[in-house]
């Protein structure tokens, strides 16, 4: 007596098709599972046996072998439980083998026989559809997540009994369908933090608008309590709304990390990830024997906010260089390479010195060398990838208590950002570039032509302010974004001078 069902094994974000086979033959009563299984997959044996018993199904006292093939791929996770149970029931001739054809089954079992949610349903459903499967059985709690994929029926089940009834044709469960665009429209705008709540800080708001429009990484410097974190939290809200493709990518990552809430099963807002400064490099990039996405992948298409930047360990910050460059994280392990996307906007915040009040000498008692030492904790290469630098200043009481009605809302700012993003998309069509921040030096020559007057201004600034070639480059890219926000094709003097004001700190120049 033999039975088999299809399922998927996740390797990072990729899924590999596996076949869960069960055989019941004469011999000493034994229940064995093989197929290069990790501990948690092997434990399915006990879960399945007890769950079946508690659902009123008794396994025959015979020699039972379960194999998950192919045998050379390491199987991890608990999503095979339900598939093992169904293949056993098929082998026990309770289910007709034709019922499970063209179907994939995922789900964990508890001892009562209930089907528990598992991470990674979205990428698995996507993979199942790509492989031509017509139907998926998933835990009821995960059904919303899988339901956004078109062209495949996603059926949520609650228990083994229900599964059995469904597969024997005794009950009918309607597949759940959800439209991604509708969900995005409905949920995409629920932001709980709005820029209208931030009083004053004109400069920070403006800098954030520019950062959002051109996807420039940004560094906010300011004394403690000036509102750096408050402003940063509102940055995702002014980024252009998520497209359905971006939403899918993001949901995939959150799905395999098991971080999706059951309610809507989708990530509809741009993420804001705020790791503590004691974070290890592995937690930031993704790690473990079977690497899970790290914080910088969880910030994919959103904002990675590093508060107290100099307090982060050097090795953790160095890890960020590769994702900032390639927009993905590559992790190598003995059993394979894992690639997680990590296309985020880096927003960092720091105090200007150890005590936090420089250059206000009435409060700051750091010596110049203390200030320099504090700044030098941030590595140059990381600083090179930050285009915009701005100061959040302490506000006066009047400003603090002003009514927030007059402030611009995130919605208004986002409209402008979206317009600028559209201009960039149009300009860089077919070049693989999406935002001004991605321009390389030869692209800068092509897309950021300066007029005579502007060139003269930049040249003078280059000489007088001791700019480096690299910072000059960043200024032009930033000026390009400011011009795009302005709706101007040409970069004007005004745009350059504003970009210079936001130029990132450079240690030599810090003390004036």
């Amino acid at each position: 007596m033999y039975g088999s069902v299809n399922s998927l094994a996740m390797i990072g974000l990729e899924a590999r098709q596996v076949c869960v086979e069960a055989d019941i033959s004469d011999g000493l009563p034994v229940f064995d599972m093989v197929g290069y299984l990790a501990k948690e997959v092997n434990e399915a044996r006990e879960r399945v046996r007890t769950a079946l018993k508690n659902s009123g199904i008794h396994m025959p006292p015979k020699r039972i072998t379960v194999n998950i093939s192919p045998g050379d791929i390491r199987k991890n996770g608990t999503s095979f439980d339900l598939a093992v149970a169904v293949s056993l029931m098929t082998a026990m001739e309770m289910i007709d083998p034709s019922m499970t054809g063209g179907m994939m089954i995922f789900g964990e079992l508890n001892l009562q026989g209930k089907v528990m949610p598992v991470p990674g349903i979205l990428p698995m459903v996507i993979e199942a559809r790509m492989r031509g499967f017509k139907k998926c059985i998933v835990p009821l709690d995960n059904v919303e997540e899988g339901s956004i994929i078109e062209g495949i029926d996603v059926i949520g089940v609650e228990s083994i009994e229900e599964t059995l009834l469904y597969l024997t044709g005794k009950i009918l469960i309607e597949p759940v369908k959800n439209d991604l665009e509708d969900l995005l429209l409905k949920n995409g705008k629920t932001e709980n933090a709005d820029f209208s709540e931030v009083n004053g800080q004109q400069e920070v708001k403006r800098a954030m608008e520019i950062a959002a429009a051109g996807m420039h990484n940004i560094l906010i410097i300011g004394p403690p309590g000036a509102g750096k974190t408050m402003a940063a939290k509102r940055l995702p809200g002014i980024l252009p709304a998520l497209s359905s493709k971006e939403c899918m990518e993001l949901t995939k990552i959150y799905s395999i990390s098991g971080l999706l809430s059951n309610k809507d099963g989708l990530v509809t807002c741009r993420p804001f990830v705020n790791p503590h400064h004691t974070i290890t490099p592995q937690a930031l990039s993704g790690g473990g024997t079977i690497p899970k996405p790290g914080e910088c992948s969880l910030a994919h298409k959103g904002v990675l906010f590093l508060d107290e930047l100099p307090e982060f360990s050097k090795s953790a910050l160095e890890i960020l260089r590769q994702p900032l460059e390639d927009r993905e994280v590559r992790i190598s392990r003995t059993h394979g390479n894992y690639i997680y996307p990590a296309d985020f906007l880096l927003c960092a915040a720091m105090n200007p010195c150890k005590c936090g009040y420089y250059p206000d000498r009435s409060r700051c008692s750091c010596t110049e060398s203390d200030v320099k030492k504090y700044l030098s904790r941030i590595s140059g290469p990381l600083l090179d990838r930050i285009d915009i630098c701005v100061e959040a200043s302490r506000m006066g009481f009047e400003e603090l208590c002003k009514s927030s009605e007059k402030n611009e809302s995130s919605e208004t700012i986002r409209k402008r950002v979206e317009k600028a993003a559209a201009i960039q998309q149009e300009r860089y069509k077919g070049t693989g570039i999406r935002f001004n921040s991605e321009l390389r030096s030869r692209d800068v020559e092509k897309y950021c032509r300066l007029g005579k007057k502007e060139e003269r201004l930049l040249k003078k600034a280059y000489e007088m302010l001791g700019l480096s070639a690299r910072s000059c480059h960043r200024i032009i890219k930033c000026a390009r974004t400011i011009a795009d926000l302005d709706g101007s094709e040409a970069i004007k003097e005004m745009h350059i001078s504003e970009a210079i004001a936001y130029k990132s700190i450079d240690r030599r120049y810090w003390n004036g």
């Binding site: 004109q202 000498r361 320099k372 100061e391 200043s393 600034a461 007088m464 001078s497 003390n511």
Partner: protein
Amino acid sequence: MDDIRYITGFEKEFPEKLKEIQNPPAGIYVRGCLPDESKKSVAIVGSRQCSMYGAKVAEYFGSELAANGVQIISGMACGVDGISQKAALSAGGSTFAVLGSGPDVIYPKCNESLYEEILNEGGIISEQPPGTAPLPAYFAQRNRIIAALCDVLLVIEARIRSGTGITVRYALDQGKDVFAVPGRINDPMSAGTNRLISEGALIALNPDCILRDLFGSDASAENTSGNESKEKKIPRRAGIAGKEKVIYDLLDMYPKKTDELMSLSGLTLQDVHDALLKLRLCGLAQECGKNNYVRKKL
């Protein structure tokens, strides 16, 4: 370090001024030369963590005094000391550093280039033998030598409790004139100098005050360099107009933030940035810290 000389109190070369004080050093180590006793010297001292205001004032006094042939004596520390000595050197004057460490030990490290320059244009003096590490106790002692070597002591900026206070006490004990630069009454960085003034120190409103004290009142009549420099500035400032002028008028020696300038001037953020850049390029404004601006010159 072959060029370090040890000069005992019995030698002719030993500065007269040092012999006059109550507890003269038995001898001093010198690299470079000693101050010319026929010329006037002013000691400029002040806080190591000076504000932008202090830095600018130190620069102004250092260069103006040096341009008038006054030797600048100081401690080559961070902040006021180093800035005034640097300014004196770039004005073509000579300056002497009295160290709290051995004459070959450069402390603080950030003033290494200044040390080399002082060697060429003046001298390094120390009571401690070569190789001595900079210990706190030596600095109070070296302050008495700074006070002894000058004709006039000028305090730029000091908190209430500071090492500068020690130098002032020595100078008063030795019967030297003490000048202090006034500051805002609520500024802790100027609290020390303001108190000195209330206790009877002379007020240093400009370098002329000190030149008058050094050379007598007639000297300053001939010496109009202070006025000249003011006249020089006027045509430079006349070049700016419109929003640049508005912003320049709002700037002073205390760092102002762009948000502040924006609300004070009523200009848009973009206009403020534009004006500030133009001012920076004309050498009239300067960024200190991120998005904090001051005037470049007094």
